[in-house]
Symmetry: C2
Amino acid sequence: MAVMTTAADTSEEGCGDARSVYRAACPCRDMLDLLANKWSALALGALEDGPRRFGALRTRLQGVSPKVLTQTLRRLEEHGLVDRTVYAEVPARVEYRLTPLGADACAPLAHLRSWVEQNIDRFPGG
Amino acid sequence: MAVMTTAADTSEEGCGDARSVYRAACPCRDMLDLLANKWSALALGALEDGPRRFGALRTRLQGVSPKVLTQTLRRLEEHGLVDRTVYAEVPARVEYRLTPLGADACAPLAHLRSWVEQNIDRFPGG
DNA sequence: TCTCCTGGTACCCATTGGGTACCATGGCAG
DNA sequence: CTGCCATGGTACCCAATGGGTACCAGGAGA
């Protein structure tokens, strides 16, 4: 996943000062990879106005398969962008909600989504 | 690529009115997939302040392999975000530059990149 | 007992991401 | 005249990942 190519980061050890997505070894790279992703962008946006259950998210993100949705949500959870709460009910109820960090991340992603929707006609064959 | 699942878009045929990245059949989905991508976001950003040659881009996007860079740029070209100009010199010189559409797309992507760089410390283990 | 509901997981396959090696062209050093 | 280099890729290969379908658990309700 992290590239960590042999050379390339000769003068950068873990990106001491200059945080930059353009540096291969900077953790920013991984975060960008996490957020700059179709399903992440959609999932975070779907949680923007409150907690949602797995099934509700599956409906909102039309065309997502359960496996991919699970993967996406787990990855977002690992990185502290969403919280996952399991209620011991029957049938099991699971709620996903944004963390404060996740809520903040929504802003740039919302810009991106709405830019796409507003400019789709400008794309060749769009 | 486009999912086009059997059901799911029963009431949507190519997303007639409601443009939404949340609809599986909407072309917005493909555009989001194109832009919400690590290398696309980096490549477009690298072209923000003027045309760049292939080699220069390769240097800027630390850790990118030539093949992946080519793929990324070609895909952006296909979708009208960048222009590719080959100069018949020796050795061949190839310049990439943003189209007006590509330049516009840079804004939301720049937000995303800088959000990541400014919030990287808030990530667990960041 | 049989079925339904939720929120997944197991398993499998195709696509793709990605790396390394190599190529074509002509200038230029030798 | 012969390498050798630089640029901008492509060819080939592999592993990971994306993604789909099938299935499961576990109790409620009929």
